[in-house]
């Protein structure tokens, strides 16, 4: 029984703070006390694992995985990228899950009442495992912008929600992917919960013409970085790593 190595500390000034007045829901959902910093224990450095038996072959194809009478309407895209850690090491066989609105900005969720229509052939979720080199790939429809009740005229940029596991429970991450060139990105209070422009840039997927399928689908590339594992060389493994 070997314990996985520790993780690099999370840079809490790079991530958004809990309380951001302009993102109104955070006002009553942010702790007032400081987080208690822990040296990670086995409970944090261990984490759940997933295998190919957990998912089906069409799970990463949002153009097909809810098709009932034909194809969904909208801009066909390939979304792909690599999951690495802060050391630049690929994260293989890790679960990546995505969810999004349809081309008109409508979510298939019983709580979404936006007047834009549901697409009968679009569900809006997908999942896949990264390959042995950390690469993942989805096929989907580019989501539309979406109005929300923050300020009276707030609109989310086109975005896809992304959930990643890594190998440790403390690497668990949920984020959002935005699209290159979208003028709504700079206006969004949720994007702007992130204080550093360089960090915001890390959430903007790049148009990737090299991966397009000519006459079929355009492509965007979105790489993901999870926390890196620390060497435990000096602590308890004098024989090395």
């Amino acid at each position: 029984m070997t314990q996985p190595p520790d993780l690099y500390q999370r840079d809490r000034e790079w991530h958004p703070p809990a309380y951001v007045q302009n993102y109104k829901t955070s006002v009553s959902r942010s702790p007032q006390n400081a987080l208690l910093s822990l040296e990670p224990t086995l409970s944090e450095v261990a984490g759940p694992t997933f295998g190919h038996s957990d998912i089906a072959s069409l799970d990463n194809d949002l153009i097909r995985n809810y098709a009932k009478t034909g194809d969904p309407i909208g801009e066909r895209i390939i979304l792909h990228g690599r999951v690495q850690d802060e050391n630049g090491k690929p994260v293989p066989n890790t679960l990546v899950e995505i969810w999004q609105a349809n081309a008109g900005g409508r979510y298939r969720h019983k709580k979404d009442t936006y007047l834009a229509a549901i697409d009968p052939n679009f569900g809006g979720c997908g999942r896949t495992l990264t390959d042995e080199n950390g690469f993942y790939r989805f096929r989907t429809i580019k989501p539309g912008a979406y109005p929300w009740r923050n300020w009276i005229n707030s609109w989310r940029p086109a975005h896809i929600h992304v959930s990643v596991f890594g190998s440790s429970f403390a690497q668990r991450l949920i984020t959002q992917l935005y699209f290159e060139g979208d003028p709504l990105i700079a206006k969004c209070p949720i994007v702007n919960t992130i204080p550093d422009q360089r960090a915001i840039k890390q959430l903007v997927a790049a148009l990737d013409l090299n991966t397009t399928v000519p006459l079929d689908s355009i492509a965007y590339k979105f790489d993901i970085v999870l926390r890196g594992h620390r060497s435990t060389y000096f602590e308890n493994r004098p024989e090395g790593n």
Partner: protein
């Protein structure tokens, strides 16, 4: 001038938003799409140990239930072994997803009670379940732990609980036993605010 440190920066977190269920629990969003949804069965039918139920609410700073929260839990089995670290019963995943009732905000899940696991130093940590909460309005997922009210002796020597400077804040992490059910309410903000960790 110095050499450049070539570490990558972690991808920054964003809120999971109100429609997190579409991606992580589509059945709760209102549609069936996957052959099987993940995280529905934490311990599996073959797990040994005491079968327990845990229930509670997540409350915001006004005392209102957070009805759109999604909780992930992570625990060892009744022998104190985490999947991936040692051998566990077939079907024991130790991980699950918990969704509240959209009307009341009440959630519950069934599992087995975990045994103590090794801490960083000598000795064991008291039985506990790791929690990770995401929701609309939560910008970075919140980490906390559930401990058990009938493990008084183990809780008193638990190295993590003892890091909490104010003794009465430790109680925010202890689920109260009533029969085979434990009650664990999580308060995001204000009076009796739950202790959250930077892990």
């Amino acid at each position: 001038m110095v050499q450049k440190l070539d570490y990558l920066k972690e991808t920054p977190s964003q809120t999971a938003g109100p429609y997190v269920h579409i991606g992580l629990a589509p059945g709760d969003a209102g549609f069936d799409i996957y052959r099987q949804e993940l995280g529905r069965d934490i311990a599996g039918p073959e797990a040994t140990g005491e079968r327990i139920k845990i229930q509670g609410q997540v409350l915001d700073g006004t005392g209102a239930p957070v009805k759109d929260v999604l909780i992930e839990v992570w625990q060892a089995n009744a022998a104190g072994i985490y999947p991936g670290i040692g051998d566990v019963e077939t079907g024991f995943r130790g991980w699950g997803r918990v969704i509240p009732d959209f009307e009341t905000g009440e959630w519950s899940f069934a599992t087995v009670k975990p045994a103590p696991v090794p801490g960083r130093g000598p000795g064991l940590m008291a039985p506990h379940i790791n929690f990770w909460l995401v929701a609309r309005g939560i910008n970075v997922g919140l980490n906390t732990r559930l401990y058990f009210s009938d493990e008084t002796a183990a809780n008193e020597t638990d190295p993590i609980l003892n890091l909490i400077e104010q003794a009465d804040r430790r109680d925010t992490l202890v689920a109260r036993r009533d029969g085979s059910v434990y009650r664990f309410d999580i308060r995001l903000q204000g009076d009796k605010e739950t202790v959250f960790f930077d892990v």
